[in-house]
């Protein structure tokens, strides 16, 4: 019998444990939380991209009936600064505002309308300063500085990030460099050298639940309901800002209405807490769509990629120069930059490589974590360039890739985890599914491929979990993984049910509450199934050991002769005990509980380029077929095939959902999405002028293939998924467009206008 068929719960599409609540409207999100006496907050935001704050007068606002508190720069005094990587943010701007939308004051009032009215009464004198609103402006000699301080630094997930001293007097704030071999010599030996520059636009997560917080500060105790992806890290930020110990801060996480990275780290939660402290009552702070657009974005980027090859199509050397625009505050920028730099080598064997990736401040919205975390910017570049090279060498893009793909077990870089998947197998399956080599049915149709990988699971994770059995044999799972829609509650419950031999519906996941839930660093990086999955599996096994130890005395058998199945402990001689019976015999009453604990912690290694070997490699393949309308430049998606290397699908329907959702998200930045700045002003911070994919943007035909080789480090051979689906989309589509009509595009999104202009330029050339 196939081992996977032996599972009772794993691999089965159990009805999601959050389904009933979500389809009936009963699921509670932070935006639905209401407390007695709760005030409503509104934020005043800078109208200038860069301006000194000369004078703030809020006396009139404070006098308005219904206003409980006004926060201005004076209230920052005595508070710590904060930020995901660097502590460069304050609850409201103090010396100067650094982008249009930078919070400069905030009001808590009896309702939102009164709070809005009070904002209009706050009088602020600004002294406008010249601003830099793009990479080019920020990097120009003598450019105005977004931050005046010479250097900055901080810790993020056990790693120290710092501004090199030589960046003083510039807008650069971080550099990641990696080199192996000798690129200079290798380029001399190469038969051909290709150099191309690609750009990636500024795009926004558009979580349909905006950033939302309800804060309640009583004496020195902060309680917060927050739509966050990392409650435990948020707790640390709040502890540093308000200078209280961690046990004085309690974060409760209701359901989160979309995260995609945009609800990581710390945003306006500290401002909500400060308002609650000053108003002496609970405060609800919910962003508008426009405010969320002015809170965090993906990093716009410019990637210069230079690759040397031999005549017969072997990659010899690659040099990347990457600039990531992090906006007015660093947020996770340094770490995103580090990952972009590290991931720019691609899934290929390249003996000589050199990468320099820079983080650049500008007077625009801060850029932080967003599903893919620095990978999209570089996969767009390297997988597009692979097709450029193949074309010039007269090689088939598939053949060219197959010649250079890393093999399973090979090293991506020395000191890191060896490649854990057969890249060739996946690429061939993607090619087959799109009908590679077969001509498209119609003119102006073309096909493209891309193969991408990223380190997965989040570098250096610390995680733990607990599983409790109640006196009636029912089970409660305590996990710090946030249910952001990925289905973590369901998948983790499946792992518990499988280990304990109980039906899936006997397991319930407790409300995430940092006072009682065991620690987990964050919900990101496709990590939960592996990292939290292992913590949960270990906790379930710990519980199982305790149950079997008790049962062995009662059933007079050794623990290893016992097994848990169907909600019973089975011994030899057909003897068995139901779990409620067992619990009753242990506690001699209808009382008590047994708790199992489990933890996971990555290892640190000086030999690994990122300080810690990757937990697993997240690998994805994409194949597209498009039709280009020569008259309008419109790209129509005829077919898209996405392959995800999931190891073992704990819940296949949810794995497909992650992949389909990832691809559609990427179709956004490939074809539609771009936040547009003019004169330092963001022109389209709303859903009318900024379009995200809808039902009408679906490829006509779509296929997700889950590659399951039980090759992951997670429970039952699982790997993580969630980000992989996005990685190949832009380049697979860009390559299909070239294949269809012979124009190569370097700047996303691939709007009809850009395609049409390129077609016109080709005609006249």
């Amino acid at each position: 019998m196939n081992k996977s068929n032996a599972y009772k719960v794993i691999g089965r599409p159990e009805p999601r444990s959050d389904g009933l609540e979500k389809v009936t409207g009963k699921a509670i999100y932070t935006v639905d939380v209401a407390l007695p006496g709760m005030a409503h907050a509104k934020i005043m935001r800078s109208p200038y991209p860069h301006a000194r704050i000369v004078r703030v007068d809020c006396r009139q606002a404070e006098r308005l009936p219904g206003v409980y508190a006004v926060i201005t720069k004076e209230d920052q005094r005595g508070l710590g600064m904060f930020g995901a990587a660097y502590k460069d943010q304050t609850i409201v701007a103090v010396d100067k505002a650094r982008y249009v939308g930078d919070p400069v004051a905030a009001v808590a009032a009896v309702d939102e309308a009164t709070a809005e009215e009070a904002l209009a009464l706050i009088d602020i004198d600004y002294e406008e300063l010249p601003a830099v609103s793009s990479l080019e402006e920020a990097l120009a000699p003598g450019a105005v500085l977004v931050h005046d301080f010479a250097s900055s630094g901080g810790e993020l997930m056990g790693q120290r990030y710092e501004t090199p001293k030589e960046f003083a007097g510039t807008n650069l704030c971080y550099r990641f460099s990696y080199a192996k071999g000798d690129v200079g010599e290798a380029f001399k030996k190469a038969d051909q050298v290709f150099e191309d520059t690609f750009t990636f636009p500024r795009v926004q997560h558009f979580s349909m639940e905006p950033h939302a917080t309800v804060a309640q500060v009583e004496e020195d105790r902060i309680t917060m309901w927050a739509g966050t992806q990392e409650p435990f890290t948020l707790r640390e930020h709040l502890a540093d800002i308000f200078k209280v110990p961690l046990n004085k801060i309690r974060i409760i996480v209701p359901y989160v209405g979309g995260g995609y990275g945009g609800k990581l780290a710390v945003k306006t939660e500290p401002l909500a807490a400060a308002l609650s402290w000053k108003a002496k009552r609970p405060v609800r702070l919910v962003h508008t769509v426009e405010e969320s657009f002015k809170t965090v974005t993906r990093h716009p980027a410019r990637v210069r990629i230079k690759t040397g090859v031999t005549r017969d199509g072997k990659l010899l050397a690659r040099e990347c120069l990457i600039h990531m625009e992090t906006g007015a505050y660093a947020d996770a920028g340094p770490r995103v930059t580090q990952k972009a730099g590290y991931r720019s080598l691609g899934p290929y064997r390249i003996p000589h490589t050199k990468t320099d990736a820079y983080t650049v401040y500008t007077n625009t919205v801060p850029a932080g974590a967003y599903r893919g975390f620095g990978t999209l910017q570089v996969t767009w570049a390297y997988e597009s360039q692979m097709d450029i090279i193949a074309g010039k060498l007269g090689l088939d893009p598939l053949e060219f890739r197959l010649k250079n793909l890393l093999k399973k077990g090979e090293l991506y870089t020395p000191g890191d985890t060896p490649v854990d998947c057969d890249l060739e197998e996946g690429l061939l399956r993607a090619a087959k599914a799109i009908g590679w080599g077969e001509r498209s049915e119609r003119n102006a149709r073309g096909k493209g491929l891309a193969c991408c990988m990223k380190d997965g699971g989040g570098t250096y994770k610390v995680s733990s979990a607990a599983v409790k059995m109640n006196s009636d044999g029912s089970v409660v799972l305590l996990t710090g993984t946030v249910e952001v829609g990925q289905g973590a509650r369901t998948a983790l419950s499946q792992i518990v049910a499988e280990e304990l031999g109980v039906p899936f519906d006997r397991v319930m996941v407790a409300q995430l509450d940092t006072d009682v839930t065991p620690y987990d660093v964050n919900t990101n990086a496709s990590s939960s199934t592996v990292v939290m999955g292992l913590s949960v599996q270990r906790a379930a096994r710990d519980l199982k050991r305790q149950l079997l130890r008790h049962a062995s005395k009662l059933l007079k058998a050794k623990p290893d002769q016992l097994r848990l199945e169907g909600g019973r402990v089975h011994g030899g001689n057909h003897s068995s005990l139901s779990l409620p019976e067992l619990m009753h015999k242990v506690f001699l009453s209808r009382a008590g509980e047994i708790v199992g604990r489990g933890a996971y912690q990555d290892i640190k290694s000086k030999k690994a380029a990122l300080g810690s070997p990757t937990t697993f490699w997240e690998i994805s393949w994409g194949a597209a077929e498009v039709e280009v309308d020569a008259d309008t430049g419109e790209i129509k998606l005829v077919k898209y095939v996405s392959l995800a290397d999931v190891g073992k699908a704990i819940h296949p329907v949810m794995c497909e959902g992650q992949d389909e959702g990832g691809v559609m998200n990427a179709i956004g930045h490939t074809l539609l999405e771009e936040m547009i700045y003019k004169d330092g002003q963001l022109l389209n911070p709303n859903l009318v002028d900024y379009r995200v994919p809808s039902f009408t943007h679906l490829p006509k035909d779509f296929e997700t293939i889950l590659v399951e080789n039980q090759n992951g480090p997670g429970p039952f051979g699982a790997k993580g998924t969630g980000e992989g689906g996005l990685l190949p989309v832009a380049s697979a589509i860009g390559n299909s467009v070239y294949n269809a009509v012979g124009v190569r595009l370097y700047d996303l999104p691939l709007t009809p206008e850009k395609v049409w202009r390129a077609l016109q330029a080709k005609k006249t050339a």
Partner: protein
């Protein structure tokens, strides 16, 4: 200025006095405590706030509460009858038609309205009807599947 309105929500009659500027979504969420209806974009583009008024789908974020005076409103909370989910709700659970769930009340309402008009829609009809309901998680395919297979749950 306030106005007294009478409306029936999920079969229950309500009489209340609201400011004439009160949006229906705020009336439902904050005056009547029906927080299932969600505000996604506030400009009638995303469909998260979809409710039925006399069976017709409307955006509660673009409708004033006074416009619902004398009308019958159905929100996501009113779709299940006597504790039994409607076919669309059952199908969304069975076929994974949701992830984070914040757009789901609107999706379920829109799909219920579609099936009332067209019990067996094809894929194109579904895409056409549902284009005003955005979802940032699922990639839409599982929503389409859920709608297409909802008829299985019709008794």
């Amino acid at each position: 200025m306030n106005k007294k309105i009478k409306l029936r929500v999920n079969g229950k009659k309500h009489e209340l006095e609201v400011p004439t500027s009160r949006l229906l979504i705020d009336c439902l969420r904050y005056d009547l405590g029906l927080t299932g209806t969600k505000e996604g974009c506030s400009v009638g583009v995303c469909g998260a706030c979809a409710v039925l008024m006399d069976g017709e789908m409307i955006s509660a974020c673009l409708t004033l509460a006074v416009m619902a005076d004398g009308h019958d409103i159905t929100t996501v909370e009113g779709l299940a009858k006597n504790g039994e989910l409607n076919p669309v709700q059952k199908s969304f659970i069975q076929y994974g038609g949701f992830q984070c769930g914040i757009c789901t009340p609107g999706q379920v309402i829109a799909a219920t309205a579609l099936l009332a008009e067209n019990p067996r829609p094809n894929e194109d009809e579904i895409k056409d009807w549902m284009m005003g309901n955005l979802c940032r998680c699922t990639g839409y395919y599982k929503i389409i599947e859920s709608i297409q297979k909802a008829h299985q749950f019709v008794k």
